[in-house]
């Protein structure tokens, strides 16, 4: 948009007009610069140092990065991350989509609204509360074991988060049935945007719901899929809050993820140069994934 220049004879006025937009973005970039941009550069620079967060700071070049290869915990954390990313994607593209489809087909508006509320309300609860709740559910004396005992499956009773065999599964299973989330809302709004005309024309020809799902809905939801997969992957790379509170990476390193490893290195071991190196590597990975997504996974353009 071309800004209409005021015709003034005053030279000062036009200088002000030129710097005006910068004044508007100044507060934002002042904050961003101080806290985000400076911090990012700082962290990347420090990744080449051995640094304890305080005065001890020795330049050691690539040693932090080389050390990563022999860091067993890091290796385990990357494997866990891979598992978590794959299961997260599966969780996101299946159940929320199916539930959105079902809710779309519900004829009664009141019932549909009730279901929508049921799936949305849990999102209002602070995430820390949900985490603590599930920590109790998985507890030896918690809800899950209680249910198992009641239906006669006592032999499965265990400390779900404390048992090395089940800990990772428990972390993945957290917040079952995985519907309450924006994924459901996004699929729902995507489905609602599909013009009825499309359904009418194919239903005349007689197709099964499954065919409709695979040949029409999913292709038309490609944009939503792309967005959700990308954000799910990036979030999976970054989130460690729930793991921190559920298991803190344990037992051993069975539920360790890179982000938590970094956090521990920083705040428990004060190995901050190394932590910065870990963080830089993860940053490069997520940037790369986003780049791939932008370049190669194209949305087929719908007839909009």
């Amino acid at each position: 948009m071309r800004k209409i220049q005021k015709h003034t004879g005053n030279g000062r006025r036009s200088v002000f007009t030129k710097i005006e937009p910068y004044l508007y973005i100044l507060p934002l970039f002042l904050l961003l610069g101080t806290f985000k941009m400076y911090s990012t550069v700082y962290a990347i620079v420090k990744s080449f140092y051995q640094w304890d967060g305080g005065r001890i700071s020795v330049f050691i070049g690539m040693q932090n990065y080389i050390a990563m290869f022999s860091d067993k915990v890091f290796g385990q954390s990357m494997m866990n991350l891979g598992i978590i990313v794959i299961t997260s994607i599966l969780k996101v593209v299946t159940i929320p989509l199916i539930m959105a489809e079902f809710v779309m087909r519900v004829k009664s508006k009141k019932a549909a609204d009730f279901y929508k509320y049921a799936f949305i309300v849990p999102m209002v609860i602070p995430s820390v509360v949900i985490i603590m709740l599930w920590r109790w559910i998985y507890d030896y004396n918690g809800l899950l074991n209680g249910i198992l005992s009641m239906i006669g499956l006592e032999r499965f009773v265990t400390s779900w988060l404390g048992d090395a065999k089940t800990a990772l599964g428990a972390v993945i299973g957290y917040n079952f049935p995985w519907v309450a989330g924006i994924q459901f809302l996004i699929f729902l709004s995507g489905l609602q945007n599909i013009p009825d005309g499309i359904y009418e024309s194919v239903e005349l020809e007689g197709i099964t719901p499954l065919q409709r799902l695979f040949y029409i809905d999913i292709p038309l939801l490609a944009g939503q899929f792309r967005y959700l997969i990308i954000t799910t992957v990036v979030t999976a790379f970054q989130s460690f809050e729930h793991i921190l509170l559920l298991t803190n990476g344990g037992p051993g390193a069975t539920t360790m993820v890179p982000a938590l490893h970094l956090y521990n290195q920083s705040f428990s071991y004060f190995n901050m140069g190394y932590a910065c190196a870990l963080g830089t590597v993860l940053f490069l990975m997520t940037s790369f994934i986003s780049y791939i997504n932008m370049k190669y996974i194209r949305t087929p353009s719908a007839s909009e």
């Binding site: 910068y22 934002l28 967060g53 049921a118 849990p122 209002v124 602070p126 924006i182 993860l282 986003s290």
Partner: protein, 272 residues
């Protein structure tokens, strides 16, 4: 769907999944009224008598956390609204050198993993003397919230009719007047969405306050609820009461502003 039985099955599945989703929350509330022994005896439902005193005990311990969260969230909302609406206005309505590069660099900041900058941000905050204050829970998080908010506002303002701005300019309105009298009032819907999104994010913020503002005076409620103590037979009931109490403010916002709440949660997704 043609078959009646298929339709019934579909409803059954939805109801089952909805039940599974809500049941843990019901147990949370139900258990908040129970003593240790009551939970042991009946883990699945309500037990009588209801121990309302759990809520009193929990409230006393998290009261300051609630106040802190409210103060911090309000601060975040106000600050983010101001800086992102100003920046959005500039990006949407001006042409200036470096505009695209600045916008792009802002969006790039969204890619940076939170934990990478956690330590440096902590050090910057320490040097600025901000640790364990309200400001440290407002300034850095707002800079993060403002990115998405600016993006949303920019997109919205770009869709406003140019003729309005041109008319204002002809009438002699300066850019600031145009900003306050035209751009902002016409952006109310998106500003509401931005407010709600930031309310949720700010209230939920856990790791940063844990690292930078964990002192008893300023810690937000999400930290306070992890530190509730009570006698053995009152745990975990009192804990659960604390969790419920900390959820109430967001619930209230949700009930009064459901539509923007839902829009806020999906914000950014449709545009991506």
């Amino acid at each position: 769907m043609k078959l009646k039985s298929a339709r019934i099955m579909m409803h059954a599945v939805i109801i089952l999944v909805a039940f599974l989703t809500i049941y843990p929350l019901f147990i949370l509330v139900a258990s908040s009224f129970k003593t240790n022994i009551q939970i042991y005896e009946n883990i699945f439902g309500l037990s009588f008598p209801l121990h309302f005193e759990h809520y009193v005990i929990a409230y006393k311990q998290i009261y300051s956390g609630l106040v802190n969260s409210v103060i911090v969230t309000c601060g975040n909302i106000v600050l983010t609204l101001i800086i992102s609406s100003m920046a959005g206005y500039a990006f949407a309505c001006f042409r200036f050198p470096g505009k695209n590069m600045l916008f792009f660099s802002m969006m790039m900041m969204m890619m940076v993993p939170y934990f990478l900058i956690l330590t440096p941000q902590f050090i910057v905050s320490q040097r600025l003397g901000l640790l364990n204050t309200y400001l440290v829970q407002i300034l850095p998080p707002s800079s993060a919230f403002a990115i998405l908010s600016t993006f949303l506002i920019t997109t919205h303002m770009e869709s406003l009719p140019r003729s309005l701005f041109e008319m204002a300019s002809i009438e002699g309105a300066g850019s600031f007047t145009t900003f306050t009298r035209i751009a902002i009032p016409l952006s109310k819907p998106i500003l509401v969405v931005v407010t709600i999104t930031n309310t949720i994010s700010s209230w939920n913020n856990y790791i940063w306050p844990l690292v930078a503002a964990n002192s008893r005076e300023v810690r937000p409620v999400v930290l306070a609820i992890t530190k509730i103590t009570a006698s053995a037979h009152q745990m975990p009931g009192v804990n659960f009461a604390g969790y419920v109490l900390s959820s109430i403010p967001l619930m209230i916002v949700f009930i009064f502003a459901t539509k923007p709440f839902v829009e806020g949660m999906t914000a950014g997704a449709v545009k991506a």
